[in-house]
Point group: C2
Chain length 316, copies 2
């Protein structure tokens, strides 16, 4: 598959930060940036820009805040064509913390939003766009928000926002290929002037397959992380995505080398990947928070009981 419009975004540090309190040291982040640059990946997302009024830098690592200065320290002296992205959550960023683009090393700002918050997200992306950034809206947890409100949000985004890309985000790892096909087609039919992107979670080992499905139906912005690192089961492994895409600009070798040197040892310290409670969360199409909590207890391998706890939610 070679389509020149395709752009790959690495969110190793951003989504991986969700499982280590965003506490990667600068040496590690520089090593990732160097490999991503050598691999020809289009974007690298460094983390979140959260307000320090809401979260304490004593409790979180640098990539929870992603200051311009921290990013400059990472990229300094490394030859690269890779653009820099950060993510912001609705309601957690101080807009004044985002300087005009000419004063910042950042190229793109992605706003993560639930469907219900789309008005706020549009307000934010338009502020960032006016400051000169590329922008996206990433619609989270879309597997549980496929009703008419989604169409309404997509129409609003098309008509009112200045985004470049609308991302479909399978936060729960609950989507199979057919829903991915439907969602990508639906977004493309409404968003006539924007690109569509896809961000998968790997709870059911479908992040890569679903990304291929999104590509088939003309999503052009694709997220991956090195060795699939990310919250819960993690994301689409970047190395598989690059292996699939035949675009001559990509080189898989720096990624393979970095996995050997950094990610195999890291995986001994923090956990992600194919783990049954996350798979069960995906099947059930629910947030992995119950599974994440389970993994910190002595019952972490009691899969049957965990499954049964989810099928008996006592709702009325």
């Amino acid at each position: 598959m070679f389509r020149p419009q395709i752009k790959v975004l690495d969110c190793t540090i951003r989504d991986g930060g969700l499982i280590n309190n965003h506490d990667f040291d600068h040496r590690f982040v520089r090593a990732v940036y160097k490999a991503i640059s050598e691999a020809g990946v289009d974007y690298m997302e460094m983390g979140y820009r959260n307000s320090k009024k809401l979260f304490s830098p004593k409790e979180y690592g640098a990539w929870k805040f992603c200051t311009d200065d921290d990013i400059r320290r990472v990229v300094e002296g490394i030859e690269s064509q890779t653009k820099i992205s950060i993510m912001v959550d609705v309601g957690r960023v101080d807009l004044d913390d985002v300087k005009p683009k000419p004063e910042s090393p950042i190229d793109m700002i992605r706003v993560a939003s639930y469907v219900k918050d789309i008005d706020k997200a549009i307000f934010m992306v338009n502020d960032f766009a006016a400051k000169g950034y590329e922008t996206t809206i990433n619609v989270m947890a879309i597997s549980v928000d496929q009703g008419p409100e989604l169409d309404e949000a997509l129409h609003q985004i098309e008509e009112e926002s200045k985004i470049k890309v609308l991302y479909i985000v399978d936060s729960f790892g609950g989507l199979y290929q057919e829903p991915v096909e439907n969602l990508v087609k639906r977004a493309r039919s409404i968003l006539k002037n924007k690109e569509v992107g896809f961000h998968g979670h790997n709870h059911q080992q479908l992040a890569f397959g679903n990304t291929i499905e999104a590509i088939i139906h003309n999503a052009n912005y694709l997220d991956g992380t090195i060795y699939g690192i990310g919250r819960a089961a993690g994301n689409c492994p970047l190395e598989l995505l690059i292996g699939f895409l035949k675009n001559p600009k990509f080189d898989i070798r720096p990624i393979l080398e970095l996995i050997s040197k950094e990610f195999i040892p890291l995986r001994e310290k923090i956990e992600w990947g194919y783990i049954i409670p996350y798979a069960v969360s995906g099947m059930m199409n629910v947030h992995p928070r119950a599974a994440m909590a389970l993994r910190k207890t002595k019952d972490k391998e009691n899969y049957r009981e965990f499954y049964e706890s989810l099928i008996d939610p006592e709702v009325d």
Copy 2:
């Protein structure tokens, strides 16, 4: 997805046997059979029926030979609707070792064959069918054998064989969704009187996604293994497949319980799953034997060098 025609075959012991010399003890195999039976899985494949003239029982476990007596010891006293399958390779079975169906606990015999050996495979399945067994031909390594010889083989199978099911086998984990769609459609267009099945390998984390793709295009016989155990990266995880299929006859809970009790400890002793050299083999669409050999050396984590060894094959 609920289609009454769908049949699921568990090949945990058979494909898993490829990574432990087929040396599962009877207690373990009985535990698997019990869980598979309780889960409502349609078939369980116990292993290979190899000739003891070709392989020594001193060097291999019982499931390399799958005698009727060993199978009887496994199933005895366990209530079950699950049918028993064995696999045979072309050229490795003594046909006289296969008794008529009424004298055997076996229900189905699957013949694994390359396209080039299809005449031999047809001869064998017709012998087994005449003895009263359900039979299949499993076309191995189909990702590297998609030329006109495949059509010829499919026509021969349709016209000359008494099989019930033709399986598409992605031995190298090299198929993506679109080739799976094409192969299933191609097989179904030629095989008007047989069912089509799919057996995936998980080198690129696509075994489950590709199985869904096969289901979408009306393959009705689907292979899986518990916790994805199998050669190299392993197979489609049975628990994911059962979680996806909405057929009310299936119950995932016995499988989840067995993973907790047996497969988590087993995975500490033998290796399968997402391992980069297997992923690279899948991308390259080659047999995983070089990767399997690498994993036994001190260079087992040298992914870049392994990748480079495969892209420089010095062919002319």
